[in-house]
């Protein structure tokens, strides 16, 4: 059975070159970058080369990149680091209700620590409305954190408008963008967004787990989360994970050119999938942004009358790997906070599936996945309807 992997928002398959490079670094460049001998220098060079390749995607200077263990740590460092560092200026923070858990849970933690947090709501398309933002931000507001592409539904936030609103209300308020889903898929327009911090992760762009980074505007001060040696400008101590960082660098390099072409290709896959599914006659609804406006690689659909998890496992039996919008448990039901926040009804919540594409997928795969999805859904529906 051929495998069609359409869960690329969860993680991507590392490229062959990345796997090879990681093996080589582990085998040959095993020195500690802090060591003074040749072995240390070699490892340091590997890391600095990766930093340069990644900086190209940020269209910015390499010195402003702090390597972390991944997206979650980058988000934690940005949010907690900025909140604590600036707490004497104020203790008000702003985010949205549809952020990733690694952002939302930082804010929930900070609320327990005595900070006050405002949560922006999102409309049915999954878009945060920037118009109320300006009046929300005051002198006490030190940080706003809004994601770029929503990982579950693929809505693309109007970061330019959001950045404008923030900086107009208070130029000292820091703006953090969780770009884990958009890095190497959409351009990082740091100037246009007026962003101060941007998080991203290696394993979403065909790199390895265990590496990510926070881009930090020069001069932005954070309270580090960890204390130890002086690595990463004192911002992230701990012996660098040179092999994973090298893999991250190579993945970035493999993706840092012809971005528009890649974006177009991903959108083509998504539309081919959507059109095929629609022509099949299967009944489904689109959650979040319409297919022609959302992120190029994510589409979230509901299949009324079915259960996500059953559909997911049935697709798995046919070699197709996707994500469920909610886990359906008999005793406990915990639908996705994002789907709930954009106002889906119960039937859509319980039957939501996310299909996410990467440049490793082909158009044939997209079309064939849609056909199989239609078959499986029709088959299951006849049983559920009994």
């Amino acid at each position: 059975m051929t495998e069609i992997y359409l869960d690329n928002s969860a993680t991507t398959k590392p490229s062959r070159e990345v796997i090879e490079l990681i093996g080589n670094v582990l085998e040959k460049t095993y020195g500690n970058p802090s060591s003074m001998h040749k072995k240390g220098l070699e490892a340091e060079k590997v890391i600095e080369e990766a930093r340069r390749h990644i900086s190209i995607l940020f269209n910015n200077r390499a010195s402003e990149i702090i390597f972390t263990s991944g997206g979650t740590e980058a988000n934690n460092l940005a949010i907690k680091g900025a909140a604590y560092r600036n707490q004497r200026r104020g203790k008000h923070l702003v985010t949205s209700s549809i952020e990733h858990p690694s952002v939302l849970n930082c804010f929930l933690f900070l609320e327990q620590e005595g900070f006050s947090v405002s949560y922006l709501s999102a409309d049915t398309r999954g878009l945060v409305n920037p118009s109320g933002l300006e009046s929300l931000i005051g002198k006490e507001t030190t940080l706003v954190s809004i994601m770029h592409i929503n990982s579950e539904i693929g809505s693309v936030q109007p970061l330019k408008l959001i950045g404008q609103a923030i900086k107009k209300a208070n130029p000292d308020t820091l703006f953090h963008v969780d770009a884990v889903q958009s890095f190497a898929r959409l351009p990082m327009k740091l100037k246009e967004w007026q962003a101060d911090m941007v998080s991203c992760s290696a394993h979403k762009i065909h790199g390895p787990r265990g590496a990510g980074c926070l881009w930090l505007r020069e001069g932005t001060m954070l309270q580090p989360l960890l204390h130890g040696g002086g690595q990463e400008n004192m911002m992230r101590p701990g012996t660098e994970n040179a092999a994973a960082i090298a893999g991250f660098g190579l993945a970035a390099r493999q993706n840092n050119h012809s971005l528009q072409q890649k974006t177009d290709y991903l959108a083509e896959l998504k539309i081919a999938f959507y059109n095929e599914l629609q022509n099949s006659g299967t009944s489904f609804t689109v959650n979040g942004p319409s297919p022609d406006t959302g992120a190029p690689h994510i589409i979230n659909l509901s299949f009324p009358g079915l259960k996500s998890e059953v559909l997911l496992h049935s697709l798995e039996e046919r070699g197709i790997y996707v994500s469920a919008g909610s886990a359906c448990h008999s005793r406990r039901s915990d639908p996705s906070h994002v789907l709930k926040a954009i106002g889906l009804d119960n039937e859509s919540l319980e039957s939501a599936l996310r299909f996410s594409f990467s440049t490793f997928n082909t158009k044939d795969e997209a079309v064939s996945a849609a056909r199989i999805t239609a078959e499986v859904a029709t088959d299951l529906l006849s049983m559920f309807k009994k």
Partner: protein
């Protein structure tokens, strides 16, 4: 450094002629239990002695206290068969106790009658010696704050202060081989544990309905087997898909009879596995009167589905007692993980509580029973689950 752990057994010592066989089985089980810690068990005058590396001492004691047939285990100190050596060791052990432990009792068991002092004489000699060294110590035979035990063996003497209780019961494997129908709920692991306690070797079968249940629910069953395996070394786990059977029942039979029909099919599959593996009885976590499929009428109809003996060890327990047992044997936390019954598609809202055998058999005559059983057996997968 090596440590020595004394293992006591109870019920099996009473079994007359079968005693040798029982001891052999227990010895094998003890050795299997401590094998991964590089421990070794030996027979010794009505007890077993386990010798193993110091660094795994606590794990070995925990593991040995889970071997069925064991009444209690003690970490012992070994010394020469010489009253003066015994006195010195006793004084050293007492010296390490906290000061508030000031009432005591000495209990000697002399297996080796060639030792020159009888048990009461040894008690007396040691007690007097300890009191001479520690004038604060008071003998209290009824409620001592510590008890020093002395075992006089044939080549060495052993002293110890604590006992860890074992589970009792009979050594696993001694009474026969069984197949446990393991669902992933609270009841069936407890039923399996009770079966093992009475000396049954247990294999398990789990029925899943992927894609209507998830991989996680199958992993959960593996985890339950792993927990049970900590009492019996290993559990062969068979998994079988009943999706095709459920689809067929869903299509051809009334909804309210589906559970009874499915249970009968499960027992038939279990019978086929038992015949293949030489297993003599089925074990289920069924109780009486809890849910619809557990009325006397339902159990009777389910029983008639196969020719096999079906044992139900939980029959005498209340739900609260079953939960208490599941907590004690450490399966409860795993059982309540919410993975099973991902979807209620095949769960009827009002199952029949008093099914009639004739009605059930009528519906079964519309089904290709043999074909369905063979299809299910074709999905059979077997893994050996061990604690590590």
């Amino acid at each position: 450094m090596a440590v020595k752990i004394l293992v006591r057994y109870g019920e099996i010592a009473l079994k007359g002629k079968n005693r040798g066989q029982f001891e052999q089985q227990l010895l094998r089980n003890l050795n299997a239990a401590v094998n991964s810690y590089h421990g070794r068990a030996e027979k010794m005058h009505g007890r077993f002695m386990v010798t193993g590396p110091d660094e795994h001492c606590d794990l070995m004691i925990k593991k040995l206290s889970r071997v069925f047939g064991v009444v209690s285990v003690s970490l012992v100190r070994e010394t020469e068969l010489d009253i003066d050596e015994i006195k010195i060791l006793a004084a050293e052990m007492v010296d390490r106790l906290p000061d508030d432990q000031d009432t005591f009792k000495i209990e000697t068991r002399r297996a080796n009658k060639k030792f020159p002092y009888s048990s009461p004489e040894t008690n007396h000699l040691l007690g007097a010696y300890l009191q001479k060294l520690n004038p604060n110590l008071v003998v209290d035979l009824k409620k001592p704050s510590f008890k020093l035990s002395v075992e006089i063996g044939y080549s060495k003497a052993y002293l110890f202060l604590d006992r860890v209780a074992g589970p009792g019961g009979l050594p696993v494997g001694i009474t026969g081989r069984s197949l446990l129908l393991l669902s992933g709920g609270i009841d069936s692991p407890a039923a399996g544990w009770l079966a093992m306690k009475r000396g049954l070797f247990v294999e398990a079968v789990h029925f899943h309905s992927f894609p209507f249940t998830s991989h996680r629910s199958q992993e959960k069953v593996v985890e339950l087997c792993r927990k049970l395996a900590s009492y019996c070394n290993k559990i062969p786990l068979h998994t079988v898909s009943v999706t095709a059977i459920q689809k067929e029942l869903n299509a051809k039979c009334p909804e309210d009879l589906a559970i009874i029909l499915l249970r009968r099919m499960m027992c038939r599959i279990a019978e086929m596995i038992s015949n293949k593996r030489g297993l003599q009885t089925l074990i289920t976590g069924e109780n009486l009167g809890q849910v619809a499929s557990q009325t006397l009428e339902s159990i009777n109809v389910i029983d008639k589905g196969t020719g096999m003996l079906i044992l139900r060890p939980l029959l005498g327990l209340d739900k609260s007692e079953i939960i208490e047992l599941a907590v004690k044997i450490d399966t409860y936390e795993t059982s309540i993980l919410p993975y099973e019954d991902c979807c209620t598609l095949f769960l009827p809202k009002n199952p029949v509580t008093k099914p009639k055998l004739a009605t059930i058999e009528k519906y079964e005559s519309n089904l290709d029973i043999e074909g369905l059983l063979n299809e299910a057996m074709a999905s059979l997968e077997t893994t050996i689950v061990k604690e590590y």
